[in-house]
Amino acid sequence: MVTAMLETYPTDTRTADITDAEAIDRAWAAAERVTDPEMPMLTLLDLGVLRDVTIENGHVVTTITPTYSGCPAMATMRDDLQRELLEAGFPDAEVRVSLTPAWTSDWITERGRQALKDAGISPPGSAPVRTGPVALTLMPTRRAVTCVLCGSDNVRLSSEFGATACKAMYQCNDCLEPFDHVKEI
């Protein structure tokens, strides 16, 4: 096993003689440090984008899932993951894309939701559970959203689309604070 690992990580003494279990722990720790480029208060793990870290044939494989089809941050996420893993001693880490199951805002962790709140972004509620055809909704989407500044629930939706693909825009009717809300999908 030790011989195999020496062949696997020939360029980095920190990972030259560790077991697979230790390597996975170290790779997870590195991958967990990577943050979302557009919402840097969230790690990719808290966002639910980082799905897995494994060892395959002696090299680290991480799996990420795009939030939206057109998410322009995917390439940056991949680069950031590879750089963080390189710095942790895994120069040949591979980043794979997984399209199934599709990302849902339900995967944002409790810690992630708190981090969003702390940064003035309203976290998503539960994603809609769909059985059968998607229902047409001609009235404004009803959400239990409260103002991130004053806590009032007297808020209005100003747009279902915001500065990034994953956010809607709200404004508080009481304190007038405009704020982002991460959409339920």
Partner: protein, 326 residues
Amino acid sequence: MTANNEPTIHVEHDEAGTNVDHGDHDNAYSGLLVNDANWAFGTDFEDPLAGVDTTVPDGVDAKDLGAYCLMLGDDALVFSQRISEWCSNAPDLEEDIALANIALDLLGQARLLLARAAAADPELVPELPEGSPVPDEDRLAFFRNDLGFRNVRLAEVPNGDFAEAVAKILIYSTWRLSIFERLTDSRDTVLAAIAAKGVKEMSYHRDFAGRWVVTLARGTEESKSRLVTALNGLWPLWSELFETHPVETAVAEAGIGVDPATVADEASVILDQVFAAAGIDRPERGGLAGVGVHGGKGRDGLHTEALSKLLAEMQVVAREHPEGQW
């Protein structure tokens, strides 16, 4: 310039970090490259299907799968390009951002679909000079002529006013959502995954457009009249959405695609719900005729003049620099 004519940017800094002037090499944006860790998103050439198993399922003709993904990808690409023309032109900032977001979602879907088309049938991909860094999905997007595009003609018609924009998005997303909901059961797991993602995104698009159609219809005489005019103008493109091309017949029989004729009733019912809420009548106009003795339409590569102009604008930079590094 280097020997192979690749554009390069030379940046040097003095001790204060100020860019050193190099006369004709100076670039107003060069300072952005000092810390390049996060300097721009989406400029990378990387495979959007990296690590995804793109094996063609048993019993499926790879050429049919490729052609079908090209049709769906071209719909999304051309409509995305059309909607993105609204960027900085919408009536207010919120709608501007909404339209840009919708265009971005469709562009993402197009990228995946065109990459899927290329993986299924590499012969679809235009050849470029050896060493060109342009990935397959970009070759398909930027290096085919109008006759190679398989999008429905609704996607390509020129933009009108804001009422026309929301009417067109409503029609497109109503049709498309019905197809994608069925496509989530495709035997091709890649296509099924792209569809599952697209369903979530286009649910927002359809609701956005449907609300605006109701709002405009129930607004002023002027807004209602503009909406009705827009719907009448678009209606000749409606029936084409549900006409079955032989490729669609083949992929439907193979369990990887959807025959659009099978969603016509459902899409009509949903659209009628919007019209009822808006208090307007469904337009009564026949379909736009096809071209030539066989009546070829968008799926056959026969388009309106508008597509050629759209492609000219969309493709000009990529075609000028087939070996360009961005």
